[in-house]
């Protein structure tokens, strides 16, 4: 991907993104805004799953922590920038909490802990419905902007910056060492890498971007809601987006998220069957092309050169 063609394609994609407000209506800009935030969820999950090899079934635990703590701080009278920082910091604390079992537990055991973390967060939100709004969601007094175009710019900027940081982190020595620890932890440790330190770093980075994205969505929508940020179905959609787009590619998450959100819009007339078809397509993709769309494309390009 770090080829002239790769950079050129990325530039074209950004240019199309920049020009979108001039030829797209507000409705579709709104959809793209959601898809952009979702892409950040997907990319930060890929850093943990694709690189550090951790099956985190609870990305929404980190997202929800960021969203709700930012919302609570905003309700307490703090401004949006402070709330974003606060949300990200809370999510990082959550990331460290998740990293502790990850350092001791393997594969399915760790996956379960993350699943339980989400369920506990859901229960906590419902039990403390007095301050969190429970299943209805928590309104916040401030919003980023009321204009669809401005919101779109915020989301696009956030996506591009996150994508650049995460992509180059994953291609740096940090990404390589994480891959090594994910594939063979003992050998990585034998090579002299402090596995604990790198795993912890991966969790903190993933949590930072998840929490920040969660907080941004809260201020985009004016509510922090269980249905859209914490529910397990959101976690599943994030997983689908990454696996569909191509794991271990970071940028594949953007393709997956765009596919997922746009396709769901197109299938909206089908109602409930919508999720059935999207899951079915994702299942077919992981059976037939386990490397995902971007992974498959990269492999084809490699073969040609």
């Amino acid at each position: 991907m770090r080829t002239p063609t790769g950079y050129a394609l990325a530039l074209v994609a950004v240019a199309i993104g920049l020009s979108a407000p001039f030829w797209l209506g507000n409705y579709w800009l709104g959809i793209l805004t959601v898809a952009f935030y979702f892409s950040v969820f997907a990319m930060s999950w890929d850093l943990l799953f694709g690189f550090a090899g951790e099956v985190n079934f609870g990305p929404t635990f980190l997202i929800g922590l960021g969203a709700y703590s930012a919302g609570l701080m905003n309700n307490a009278g703090l401004g949006i920038p402070l709330c974003l920082v606060g949300g990200a910091l809370t999510a990082i604390v959550g990331g460290v909490l998740l990293a502790l079992p990850a350092l001791r537990l393997r594969g399915p055991y760790f996956g379960l802990v993350t699943l339980v973390a989400v369920l506990l967060l859901l229960d906590a939100i419902v039990i403390f419905a007095g301050i969190t709004g429970g299943e209805i969601g928590m309104m916040v007094p401030s919003v980023l902007s009321v204009s669809a175009v401005t919101n779109y710019w915020y989301a696009l900027g956030f996506l591009v910056i996150s994508a650049i940081i995460l992509f180059f982190l994953s291609r740096s020595s940090l990404g390589l060492i994480l891959q090594a620890t994910g594939q063979d932890r003992i050998e990585a440790a034998a090579l002299g890498f402090n596995v604990t330190k790198f795993k912890l770093a991966a969790f903190c980075i993933s949590a930072l971007f998840s929490g920040l994205a969660g907080a941004m969505v809260t201020f985009y929508q004016g509510t922090a809601s269980v249905d859209q940020m914490v529910d397990l179905s959101i976690a599943v959609q994030i997983i689908i987006a990454v696996v569909f787009g191509g794991r271990r590619t970071i940028l594949g998450g953007i393709l997956g998220a765009l596919f997922l959100i746009l396709f769901q819009q197109l299938l909206l007339p089908l109602g409930q069957l919508n999720t059935f078809i999207v899951s079915g397509i994702a299942l077919l993709v992981i059976i037939l092309f386990p490397d995902g769309v971007l992974g498959y494309a990269l492999r084809l390009m490699e073969r040609r050169t």
Partner: protein, 291 residues
């Protein structure tokens, strides 16, 4: 009085959890597969059983049999359409196969849930009790059906015990769980053994789903939480250990019943999650886990 009530109710619920979890743990022990569509398969059995009993005058017993068969078919479909292709795929590196099977069965479970939601809506349905009426155990009014559930569950667990420990097929299953390569070298076809496990699994999950439908009622919305509770029980007991799962089923069943009776019914799922988190920090291999 309430203590006895908890004891009796908890026993029936725990036996049901036991049957639901035993198939799941057997599957992991022998095939190394964690089937996240587990709850979906149970719900299929319950809903189809109810549908056959109500709409096609199959009666409660006919409905139960049809429900169990539906669970078996769902189990075969899961194996041939989802798990087998992922296991055979050459594009998936072996060390990542586990993750792919988890993701694949998760997606399949969602498809089942949404599909059932579409066909049957998500209103909970309750199957007619297999034996109507109530009985008195030490002065506690108990539906006869609850007693029947406990008896049927223990009969199923007993049958499984005999199958695994006393028959040649069971010896092959045990051998496959200990050393699959050794078994292959002795000339046994591993895929036949996997098929047997998926059959046993389908029957157990179907039975659990049907009994659940006569007890609490089932709805498509339950699929996720049923998978989570089976997963919880199996991890708590130790992955792959059948006796461990049974002990854990009783721990979870009683913890839930006590919470529901003494604190609040809405807090029912919480103690199991807390027990699980504590257990994972202190003893990640579970009560009777091997590794």
């Amino acid at each position: 009085m309430i203590g006895l009530q908890i004891l009796i109710d908890g026993f029936a619920i725990s036996s049901l959890y036991g049957v639901a979890a035993v198939g799941f743990t057997l599957m992991f022990g022998v095939c190394g597969v964690l089937n996240l569509a587990h709850g979906g398969i149970m719900v299929i059995a319950g809903l189809i059983g109810w549908w056959a009993a109500v709409n096609h005058s199959a009666g409660p017993y006919g409905g139960a049999v049809i429900g169990i068969l539906a669970g078996l078919i769902a189990s075969y479909v899961t194996y041939f359409a989802v798990v087998r292709p992922l296991q055979k795929s050459r594009a998936i590196p072996p060390e990542e196969q586990e993750i792919f099977i988890l993701t694949g069965t998760l997606l399949w479970g969602i498809m089942i849930q949404v599909g059932l939601d579409y066909l049957f809506t998500n209103n909970p349905v309750t199957m007619q009790a297999l034996i109507p009426g109530v009985m008195h155990i030490f002065g506690v009014r108990t539906p006869r059906n609850e007693g029947l559930i406990a008896v049927v569950c223990w009969a199923a667990i007993g049958a499984l015990y005999l199958l695994v420990n006393k028959t040649p097929v069971g010896k092959q299953l045990l051998a496959a769980s200990i050393n699959p390569r050794g078994l292959t070298l002795l000339g046994f076809e591993l895929s036949h053994i996997y098929l047997i496990v998926w059959t046993v699994y389908g029957l157990l999950a179907g039975l659990a789903g049907v009994l659940l439908a006569t007890f609490f009622g089932v709805s498509s919305a339950n699929a996720g939480s049923l998978t989570a509770s089976a997963f919880t029980i199996v991890i708590l007991g130790g992955l792959g250990s059948v006796p461990g799962s049974l002990i854990a089923a009783y721990v979870v069943g009683y913890a839930e019943t006590i919470t529901a009776y003494l604190i609040a019914p809405t807090l029912r799922p919480i103690p199991a999650l807390l027990i699980l988190v504590i257990a994972l920090y202190i003893r990640p291999q579970g009560i009777l886990g091997r590794r």
